[in-house]
């Protein structure tokens, strides 16, 4: 057995250490090795979390971002901004989401550095009133206090995000000059401390090295007890942002990092994002050990960027309320999930 074979065996058994993880990322250099790694990641996924593919609706924005300057890859740095949803819009969106039969909902928004507790708690109360069984994830960045988290837990929220994108401080400063990695790490620890599940992201394509990815994955393994979800997001250079001419993140690298996260972190939910939010890439996401999506199936949003009616008009439901849009791609997404041999967590009840 060559070195890659040994590393893959360790990955399969869950004994891969930092050094091995780094060697693994460096060793996988062609399609054949990548497929071997993805097979191992899928086997670990099947064994640790099963063959159910989790589907999560997305509602945004709940809060307005005040990060200054905006992150250099964000639409805000190209001038795009939307007002947060009103209580009536949140209620309308929650009703539409609940009617699809989906079990999970991410409520997301920018980071208001003065605090997002009140806005988020109010949103959760409205949603719980119309769909009390929805498993809610809150994603507003480091704008929540310990009291906010406890209140959210009391209201039945199961998961809160603190997205680092990178733990390389130089890279973080370069692409997120108005953000604060320490605040995000502190929020992650607080989420963990109060017994909520942490959801977090690792971004591919912003300059992180293999060493950075390995350090990031192992930091999560060693420091977070209640890690719920890790998503590998892949840089989508947006026109008009300072990073519009940076090449998009590599799909191959994202698959490698995702597979690494699966074999090291084992029982967490694994998703992909950014340019991998493409239904055509779902089979690859599944083959790399993924078991969860968001931004692909059900969306309630003011941004038209998510509206892609040409994907499958027959399998797309679109409703509007003012400038708010509800989009339901569940029939298409659940079809692909089934074709790849997994069971969608929440089959659609209506389209």
């Amino acid at each position: 057995m060559g070195e890659l074979g040994t590393l893959l065996r360790e990955a399969r058994e869950g004994t891969l250490d930092r050094e091995g993880a780094l060697k693994l990322l460096k060793s996988v250099r062609d399609y054949s090795d990548l497929m071997k790694l993805m097979s191992v990641a899928s086997e670990v996924r099947d064994e640790c979390v099963g063959r159910v593919y989790k589907l999560e609706a997305f509602m945004s924005p709940i809060t307005k971002c005040t990060t200054n300057p905006p992150c250099r890859y964000c639409r805000r740095s190209a001038g795009a901004e939307h007002d947060p949803l009103t209580p009536e819009e949140i209620r309308w969106g929650a009703e539409r989401v609940a009617a699809t039969g989906i079990k999970r909902l991410e409520i997301g928004g920018g980071t208001p550095w003065g605090g997002a507790g009140e806005a988020v708690i109010n949103a959760v109360k409205i949603i719980k009133k119309v769909a009390h069984n929805l498993l809610i994830r809150v994603n507003v960045g480091p704008a929540l206090s310990r009291d906010d988290l406890l209140k959210l837990k009391e209201l039945g929220v199961v998961e809160v995000s603190s997205n680092f994108e990178t733990m390389n401080r130089d890279v973080f400063r370069r692409v997120k000059p108005g953000d604060d990695l320490n605040a995000r790490i502190a929020l992650a620890k607080m989420i963990d401390d109060v017994g909520l599940k942490l959801s977090t992201t690792i971004m591919v394509g912003i300059g992180s090295t293999y060493e950075d990815y390995v350090n990031h994955v192992f930091w999560l393994k060693e420091n977070v007890r209640n890690l719920g979800r890790v998503a590998i997001t892949v840089l989508r250079p947006i026109k008009g942002t300072p990073m519009e001419h940076v090449p998009a993140g590599s799909i191959m690298e994202a698959l490698k990092v995702g597979a690494l996260a699966r074999v090291v972190l084992r029982h967490v939910d694994l998703g992909f994002g950014g340019i991998m939010n493409d239904h055509r890439l779902l089979p690859l996401r599944i083959m790399a050990g993924g078991n969860r999506e968001v931004h692909l199936s059900v969306l309630v949003t003011k941004s038209k960027a998510w509206l892609r009616p040409s994907i499958s008009p027959a399998e797309t439901e679109v409703l509007s309320k003012g400038n708010l849009t509800f989009i339901n791609y569940l029939p298409l997404i659940t079809r692909i999930v089934r074709e790849a041999g997994m069971e969608p967590e929440s089959p659609p009840t209506s389209t």
């Binding site: 399609y31 497929m35 097979s39 250079p237 090449p247 998009a248 040409s310 499958s312 008009p313 074709e339």
Partner: protein, 348 residues
């Protein structure tokens, strides 16, 4: 016979019809799909190597006079497509071919609508002569099907290969979706080109005509399609892609073709057809399924429809002459191949 024993044998000996059908039916999850793709990749590496081929794209050289319009045609979304507004002038075509040569591409497909009758054939011959005269060293593949079986001999000296896209060989599906087109004539073109020793290219569209709720893919039809192209001695290029219901067309309510079935069929085509050039090599999943050809590289079109211009990737639009533009997508379309350990033809 289990799918794994079929795969083991298929890597060495190819696939029979029954074995291909068994694979299509039994590959129903990520594990078996990966096994199938791995076998296809191995055959690709052994039969055609790990160098990915590139096909340039020039469109349009002719307008489309098909009447009624095919039900899934892009013209439903944009009536300017394949109209005279879309047709490159001789000067634009010449500049486009030179740009393709300068970029280092060895071949290009000249596409356009089906311009019927002798006038369409003569116009096509004229455009082929313009392109050939501009850059004799770039191999031309003509894809507009503005000619018949009898005309193939006239085209042969001007081209490296002839494309006749069938999409489906089910006559009922074809007639229903392409009422103004003739499947028999398209098949005859492939057969005649093959008889004359001219390399050929065709497309199989996954999910075409399945329609809402029909469910089970027409595996027998697909395998018969593959058997037909396998019977052509000089068949070179197979394009397999999922049906996309064009927005605003009569088929917009149909489901798109399955991305998983497309990967399965590409892999099975590789196992059956062995040394064929298989499209889809611009994507990670396509390469894993055995593809070795990137179509639509460096596309030359009129400026109103820069082909395949991506808002995500770093492709750039450059004006050539008149109203012709090129989308410089070479770094985007070859990226997956390079990252996955393939070389790209011409060192590009």
């Amino acid at each position: 016979m289990s799918y794994s024993s079929i795969l083991t044998r298929a890597v060495k000996d190819g696939l029979s019809r029954e074995e291909a059908l068994t694979l299509l039916r039994k590959v129903r999850d990520w594990e078996s799909l990966q096994d199938l793709m791995r076998a296809a990749s191995r055959v690709r590496d052994e039969e055609v190597g790990t160098e990915v081929k590139l096909m340039g794209f020039v469109c349009s050289i002719t307008p489309c006079t098909t009447n009624p319009t095919c039900k899934y045609c892009f013209r439903w979304a944009n009536p300017k497509l394949f109209s005279w507004d879309d047709v490159l002038s001789d000067e634009e075509l010449e500049a486009g071919m030179k740009a393709i040569q300068e970029a280092g591409l060895r071949r290009a497909e000249l596409g356009g609508g089906t311009y019927a009758d002798a006038v369409g054939r003569d116009y096509t011959l004229h455009k082929l002569r313009v392109a050939k005269h501009a850059v004799p060293s770039v191999g031309i593949w003509v894809t507009n099907v503005s000619f018949t079986q009898e005309d193939v001999a006239l085209l042969a000296p001007l081209v490296e290969g002839i494309t006749s896209n069938l999409e489906t060989m089910n006559p009922m599906t074809y007639k229903a979706l392409r009422p103004g087109s003739d499947l028999r004539k398209r098949v005859e073109i492939l057969v005649e080109a093959d008889r004359l020793g001219v390399p050929t290219d065709t497309t199989l569209m996954v999910g075409l005509g399945l329609g809402e709720g029909r469910g089970t893919p027409p595996y027998e039809e697909w395998v018969r399609f593959l058997e037909f192209v396998a019977s052509l001695k000089h068949f070179r290029i197979l394009e397999i892609h999922p049906f996309r219901p064009t927005w605003g067309s009569p088929v917009q309510g149909m489901e798109p073709g399955s991305v998983v079935e497309t990967l399965k069929l590409r892999a099975i085509a590789r196992l059956m057809l062995r040394d064929v050039w298989l499209s889809g090599a611009h994507t990670v999943e396509g390469l894993m399924a055995g593809a070795n050809l990137i179509m639509h590289a460096y596309p030359i079109t009129k400026s109103f429809r820069p082909w395949g211009h991506s808002k995500i990737f770093a492709s750039r639009i450059r004006r050539l002459t008149g109203d012709a533009v090129v989308v410089d997508n070479l770094s985007d379309v070859t990226r997956a191949a390079k990252e996955l350990g393939f070389s790209v033809e011409g060192g590009l």
